[in-house]
């Protein structure tokens, strides 16, 4: 589930963000408490607390004193706009580089993208 190859708090944050982006977690929905999350996934509670704190700092979650943590209503938009910023460097640039390396013409690439976006099956 979580591995030892990168900090676990980052993996937890990634997973909660993914749930927000797919709509599995909705705005104002309560998330599991730190202790429940730690027990469920067998992770040190301090590690989980660090992940949740980061999500609060990033505006993805907010705290209600004495009740728990909730998803910020604007979290999906916050995350989408953050991902938009890195989309071209993380996704498009490597794809173009690979296409050029194996001899796929840029025109074919553009063609494919246009068809995909229009929902046309080729």
């Amino acid at each position: 589930m979580f591995d030892d190859r990168s900090p676990i708090y980052r993996q937890i944050a990634d997973r909660i963000e993914a749930d927000v982006l797919t709509g599995a977690l909705r705005g104002d929905e309560q998330v599991m408490s730190t202790n429940k999350y730690a027990a469920f996934h067998r992770i040190n509670p301090a590690t989980v607390a660090k992940a949740f704190q980061q999500l609060v700092d990033d505006g993805v979650l907010y705290k209600k004193r004495g009740i728990g943590m909730f998803v910020s209503p604007e979290a999906p938009e916050t995350l989408r706009s953050r991902r938009r910023k890195t989309f071209f460097t993380d996704v498009v640039d490597p794809m173009v580089a690979q296409a050029l390396a194996i001899g796929v013409p840029v025109a074919d690439l553009i063609d494919r993208i246009t068809h995909q976006a229009n929902g046309e099956v080729r």
Partner: protein, 294 residues
């Protein structure tokens, strides 16, 4: 309850053998600590000194600010559970072992002990000597958890436990750490299975402390740099290289130390592949006897 542990220049010698050599660290307490090391690295020696079972040959060891050896005030606050429990109790019934344990610790919680006995399906009327390896380990775990001592140490306590029982142990340990925060030290070499439970990690090798850091820091600290041998050599110059592998012109170097965004960009520009290094691999490379350490 938090119990600070201060170890300063600790050494432990058995006749000619040096088991611990110039070990220094401070644990602020209230956390789950992982003590990692290969067989014979000094884990049990270190835990024995912290529990007051052995007197240090040099240096100082303080638990809660006070020396440990021959100090009942401190040792009554400490519980060390060794592998499969102490062999001396083999002719005694399980129920009696638990009763004796309760006499030894004023913090003992007998209700909780009974819950754990049920959880691990331990037969109270059996002699300890007649128990399987795994059940003896479970008995030790129950004693460690139910003693609720401010400093509780489990020395390879999972030995002989089957996987479902080990997971019960981890679950109970975490539940305890959350409901009754205290200082717990777990020695192990089953790193992949338990490391997510640790907040801090200490690695011993040949009686020396080679590393002490937050587990999360260590998960980000190792990288495998792979690519053209010359470019790899140029990139890792000045870094702590834990090990190297070579296949033709391709080389892979395991380095220790977090690489910032500038360094990562530099690696990309040089056509090098940067991969993460799992905590387990970091441990293996840090404690390899013939490893390339620079």
């Amino acid at each position: 309850m938090t119990t600070i542990i201060e170890v300063d220049r600790l050494s432990l010698r058995y006749n000619e053998v040096t088991a611990l050599d110039d070990v220094s660290f401070t644990l602020t307490g209230g956390k789950i600590y992982g003590l990692l090391g290969r067989n014979g690295s000094g884990k049990t020696s270190l835990l024995s000194v912290l529990a007051g079972y052995r007197k240090e040959s040099g240096g100082t060891v303080r638990v809660g600010g006070r020396p440990v050896f021959d100090n009942a005030e401190v040792t009554s606050q400490v519980c060390l559970v060794r592998g499969t429990g102490d062999a001396a109790s083999s002719g005694i019934k399980v129920a009696d072992v638990l009763t004796f344990a309760s006499y030894l610790r004023e913090s003992w919680d007998s209700t909780y002990a009974a819950e754990l006995v049920e959880m691990f399906s331990l037969p109270l009327n059996k002699n300890v000597g007649a128990l399987s390896h795994g059940r003896r380990s479970a008995l030790g775990i129950i004693i460690g958890l139910a003693s609720r001592t401010p400093l509780t140490m489990f020395d390879e306590s999972y030995l002989g436990l089957d996987a479902p029982s080990r997971y019960k142990f981890y679950d109970a340990l975490l539940a305890e750490a959350m409901s009754q925060p205290r200082t717990m030290i777990i020695s192990t070499h089953l790193i992949e299975e338990v490391s997510a439970l640790f907040e801090e990690v200490l690695i011993l090798d040949e009686g020396r402390l080679v590393l002490h850091d937050e587990a999360e820091t260590l998960r980000a600290a190792g990288s495998a740099v792979t690519g053209d041998a010359e470019s790899v050599d140029r990139f890792v110059a000045g870094l702590r290289v834990l090990g190297e592998k070579r296949l033709g012109r391709t080389k892979s170097a395991m380095v220790y130390g977090e690489l910032d965004e500038d360094r990562r960009a530099e690696a990309r520009a040089a056509g090098l592949d940067l991969g993460p290094l799992a905590l387990q691999d970091l441990f293996v490379h840090l404690t390899e006897p013939t490893g390339d350490r620079s």
